[in-house]
Amino acid sequence: MADQATFVADTEPFMGSLYSTALRLSGNKADAEDLVQETYLRAFRSYATFKSGTNLRAWLFRILTNAHINRYRSRSRRPDETDLGEVEDLYLYKKVRNQSQLGRSAEDELMDLFGDGEVVAAVEELPDNYRVAVLLADVEGFSYKEIAEILDIPIGTVMSRLHRGRKSLQQSLYEYALDRGLANVPRPSEVTT
């Protein structure tokens, strides 16, 4: 049995990022709190098996994503895959770059184009597998190798989920931009290739 004070001292610094990820995974505060609490209780009970000196943050995220996957499987909340066959690489970039103004950074342009809420919504709309990969890579800054260990999948699978997740995300963002009249280019369905 792990000493509570030691466990809390070691793991509490990661509670904020675990909660943030849990919120994006579950979509609401009550479920996010449940998920983080479950993660901490499981981690506490298994803390004796954690090898000190290895990656504690990655270990906690592994417990979190496993707990989420178990819940998700039983609830079957979202479709697992989505048809992205026709979405091209750099989708959003190709759509919006022609509207760029000289001398403005890509970052400024993106912030003008999308509200915070729209970016979050586009991430939350992603199918589970892609969303987890995007959150771990883009928000938490885990390396491909760490994500592969957290999700227990090969690095090639991490890369393909990220790739597909980003394509899907860019497509959603573009739709938001169109809906708000910010992107003055045809909808994908209107483009003949």
């Binding site: 466990f7 505060k29 901490y40 970039y93 690095i155 990220l162």
Partner: protein, 95 residues
């Protein structure tokens, strides 16, 4: 070959773009970092594409963070304090 980005049809552009995500993510193992860097040094349209991807990654990172409310933190710490710490009968954590 591929002139979608206005690179002038440089065959290296497709290769560079294929590796772009890995480069944006800072993953060098298995990707030819120097060849991408050489290509970016010589190809302004690909630099634009890189900047865009890197900026989008930053935007996702900054917008998708939420602050842990104090009451949630307190409740979770309380749950740990009330936990006997004995290994549960749940599926063991195999990490």
């Amino acid at each position: 070959m591929n002139d979608e980005l206005g690179c002038g049809g440089d065959v290296d552009c497709q290769k560079a773009l294929d590796d772009l995500y890995a480069y944006v993510d800072g993953w060098s193992e298995g990707t030819e970092r120097t060849s991408i860097e050489d290509h970016l040094a010589a190809c302004a349209p690909c630099v634009d594409a890189y900047d865009f991807q890197a900026s989008l990654k930053k935007l996702i990172s900054s917008t998708c963070r939420s602050v842990l409310p104090d009451d949630v933190r307190s409740r979770i710490l309380e749950a740990i304090a009330n936990c006997d710490g004995e290994p549960s009968t749940d599926t063991p954590v195999d990490a």
